[in-house]
Symmetry: C3
Subunit: 153 residues, 3 copies
């Protein structure tokens, strides 16, 4: 059995950003020498996620707009009435009593999920033709880490 670990660090320019990391994950697989196995790609923060989807800018913009309705920030005005009603009932997140302002990023982490596991077949990520791997940052502009763990033979 072989295993291999790689940590990536992101410091996005925007507060929220999708960063394509498919090639970084494949590179970790290459380094591992694993031909058949799995690779775990996992954000090490509670305000970020990992999403496997289409590398199409329109869709990514649609998705961030939508996540801001489902999991509304309190650091800007709610996008509409639905976002207002989905906001915390006390008017702001209880979580913000400690001085934070990123409660929405925790909720986006829940919806997107913080990790994925990808199959490795014959040394390659066994993905469909449109599947790209994204690190999904929801509270960026500071150094944040992600771990890639390869397991197989």
């Amino acid at each position: 059995m072989r295993s291999h670990t790689r940590h990536l660090t992101f410091e996005t320019r925007e507060r929220r950003e999708f960063v394509r990391i498919t090639d970084d994950v494949q590179q970790a697989v290459d380094e591992s020498g694993v031909a058949e196995g799995m690779v775990l790609v996992s954000a090490m923060h509670i305000t970020a996620g990992v999403w496997v989807n289409d590398d199409e800018p329109g869709l990514l913009e649609d998705t961030l707009e939508w996540l801001d309705k489902l999991a509304p920030p309190s650091w800007k005005e709610p996008a509409n009435d639905v976002a207002r009603e989905l906001s915390p009932d006390p008017g702001d997140f209880r979580h913000h009593r400690g001085g934070e302002d990123n409660g929405d990023a925790h909720w986006k982490n829940l919806l997107v999920h913080h990790q994925v596991v990808l199959p490795i077949t014959e040394g390659r990520l066994d993905l469909g033709p449109w599947q790209a791997v994204f690190y999904a940052e929801f509270d960026g502009r500071r150094a944040k880490r992600l771990v890639i763990k390869v397991l197989g033979e």
Copy 2:
């Protein structure tokens, strides 16, 4: 260490459909000879998911109705005012500028998640009594693939 890979192809009759695949996953485990390990079950498309839940038709119908409110299609009328407000602000998905009409299926993929990892104990899927594995199709009527990757000993 043993590993085993199996690809399934689905071509659903309906645009959206839950397809029970528990037995297919168990069969892949049987083929692998793995007694202790994990099995990854992963849609290879960005408009489908995998859900482990109850094989109860009422619940599956409830869930599709609900997903159409949370992640509203633009190829039919929004189900109600909430669905309308959760729809993209420009009136349609930016993603549809390229001629697609399946933006909602990408969002359902995000909510449902495209993959699960299941435990294998003594050669069997170590599931609870009501846990069934479903391939969740959100943009079907064409051939789509899923990969099953077994790892263990």
Copy 3:
């Protein structure tokens, strides 16, 4: 290759409850003797989930309130108009025709996801400083199980 399995049982006092299990997962890793690998933490029920996030009571309360809007129970009044519109159109869950009242817990299971896979590096869960592992109970007050499966070397 080494593997190790541990089952936990929960019987929460409240119907809904987040139970921190980071130490239980680390203990299973310790028992396994695995230094490099992965550990799967998976609810064996279709009305529970596993979430990796912040052990901060305000956030957990925010999150339960929010999940009750996105995935509204029918055993109590909808929290507001959005929760009312996200409730099943027939007035109650089709799923409840069999006598159940926990349809919302199935939906919360979908949003939260029933399992996570965590990396193990040098014998420790390779988590970020604020990542805690929670069993998320959405229909408790009865014995429910979770499986921990460690795989690695």
